[in-house]
Amino acid sequence: MSLTKLVTAQADYSYGFLDAYAKRELRRRILKGIAIPGYQVPYASRELPIARGWGTGGLQVTLSLVGPESVVKVIDQGADDSVNAANLRRFVTRMSGAQTTADTRQATLIQSRHRIPEEVMQEGQVLILQVPDPEPLRAVQSDLAKAREMHADSDYGQMWLVLYEQLVRFKRYMQGASYPVLVHDRYVMSPSPIPRWDTPMLHQAAHLTILSAGREKRLYVVPPYTNVYPLEFTDVPFQVEDQREWVCLRTGAQHKFMNEIPQADGGSTYEVSDTGYADKLVAQQRGEQPWIGRTYYDDEGNFYHAGYLKPPVIPET
């Protein structure tokens, strides 16, 4: 048995676009990420036929995990049909022969930018989030070498100092998307720019979440059934976006994450941001019987892990 026999021969085209070495490296990095939840694992980000910053991190992970049996769903800000999502989906299928879908329940691989689907994801499903900036400490420590030292020391006091300042000035946490979370009681992680609404969905989730930043060459993982808590003071709980009054124009749904659509008269209408889920609701209203799963937030707005989200407190300053 010689090394040349063990090594895959150089081919002009390889399955899933990336060469065998790239895929092997990515899979190893993912395994390391799974072993150390929330830890940023560096990897050699490869060139792809899309520009850095357009989802190359997520795409590389998708390409290294995709197979002919896979069913791929690509989301961009909740929508399946935006240009970015459509292009990525077409590229993945051309390179791998995988099936595609807009249905969260049927997908095995979900690559997403800025949203987690409304329907509860199951064991065996993989959510791949595109990440523009993986370093949660960047706001308080611009030197990345020092930030890594702070991660090693669990030196996260400054993150709470930022929250303290927000409470003093505004009496509530001001960070909107990309709300920092503590994973497995060890690493503080930036969950990519998902809205606060989606942040609790990472906690004790049945599915595997892989977050990958192509430009920054870092990936990190939230394994299934892992504790993920937003940074908060014990007496001032974290809150998701308050959209209780908002009703979806297309489906009449409530208590789902909405897009606000400004109107000419100065008012707004709202639409469920997760188009795959909204399409199923519309189909149901037409009398069809789509396979609609349980959602993270029920129709009264209660989160599926009871007690995880607490009623709001306005701090005394």
Binding site: D153, D155, G157, Q158, W160, L161, Y164, E165, L167, V168, R169, F233, T234, D235, V236, P315, E316, T317
Partner: protein, 274 residues
């Protein structure tokens, strides 16, 4: 001399009470070089509970280096460092790993710098600057942080209606008070003062020194005060070390050193001042 020898042994004076206590800080044989330059050579620093130890010397005499070493900011080349504080009583702080050194620095050592921007985040609120100390030890309750920050600011006689203003918009004297509040927030075993009033005008300097004096009386904090201003040393320090060229040239009680200096350099220093 004859009178002394005739004195009965029962009349022998006890050593001062303070010297019978275990020292809070005991640093021995300190040495620090930067390349070819020897910044500090063979310096011992001992301070007893509730005592203020002054270090005087000209620029470049090594006094600030000593303070940086005491604050565990830099690695030393030689020497041992014992601090009589909870959890580290028996250990040589210089031999601790980086993580534990940081813990000691946060919990047991407070520092006030000459330049406020070294010790403060100028764009965060003043109360936040003080609260950061507690945050670093794992305090995660907003109300507690708020109360502790305000208490600490009150002790350093900072006007509380400005507690949420950032240090960037405060006067120099107030910035020093915020630094002081931050340094004492966790009731440290040792408070280091690096030229705390240099750069303030004379009247403000006096009120800040008043605060330090009151604080020292009420809380019995052990302080190491570095200054080139003999007035500050005279006001605050119980004991003085005079440094020159990285070495201690003379040490003793403040009054003794300032009224009756023995070493030529100290004489020069005292005369230059008076």
């Amino acid at each position: 001399m004859q009178a002394t020898s005739n004195r009965p042994s029962s009349r022998r004076l006890d050593p001062p009470r303070i010297a019978t206590l275990a020292p809070v800080v005991a640093v021995r044989g300190l040495r620090k070089t930067y390349g070819r330059i020897v910044a500090v050579e063979d310096v011992d620093v001992v301070a007893y509970p509730g005592e203020v130890l002054g270090i005087v010397g000209e620029s470049g005499s090594g006094k600030s280096t000593v303070l940086r070493l005491l604050n565990l900011q830099e690695a030393t080349d030689a020497g041992t460092y014992h601090l009589n504080a909870e959890g580290v009583t028996t250990e040589d702080l210089f031999t601790l790993d980086r993580y534990r050194q940081r813990e000691v620095r946060v919990r047991h050592i407070g520092i006030v710098y000459q330049q406020p921007h070294l010790g403060l985040r100028m764009r965060y609120s003043s109360s936040g600057n003080v609260a950061e100390r507690l945050l670093m030890t794992g305090e995660r309750t907003f109300a507690t942080l708020r109360r502790a920050a305000n208490e600490s600011l009150a002790v350093s006689e900072f006007p509380l209606d400005r507690a949420d203003d950032p240090p960037a918009v405060l006067s120099g004297g107030m910035q020093q008070r915020v630094q002081l509040a931050k340094a004492i927030a966790l009731k440290p075993a040792l408070l280091l003062l690096d030229e705390p009033t240099t750069g303030l005008d004379v009247s403000i300097q006096a009120t800040v020194l008043d605060t330090l004096k009151r604080l020292q009386r009420s809380r019995q904090i052990t302080m190491v005060l570095v200054s080139h201003d003999l007035g500050v040393i005279r006001t605050l320090a119980d004991r003085v070390m005079v440094m020159r060229g990285g070495r201690v040239v003379e040490q003793g009680l403040t009054d003794q050193i300032l009224e009756d200096p023995q070493h030529a350099y100290t004489q020069q220093l005292v005369h230059a001042k008076l």
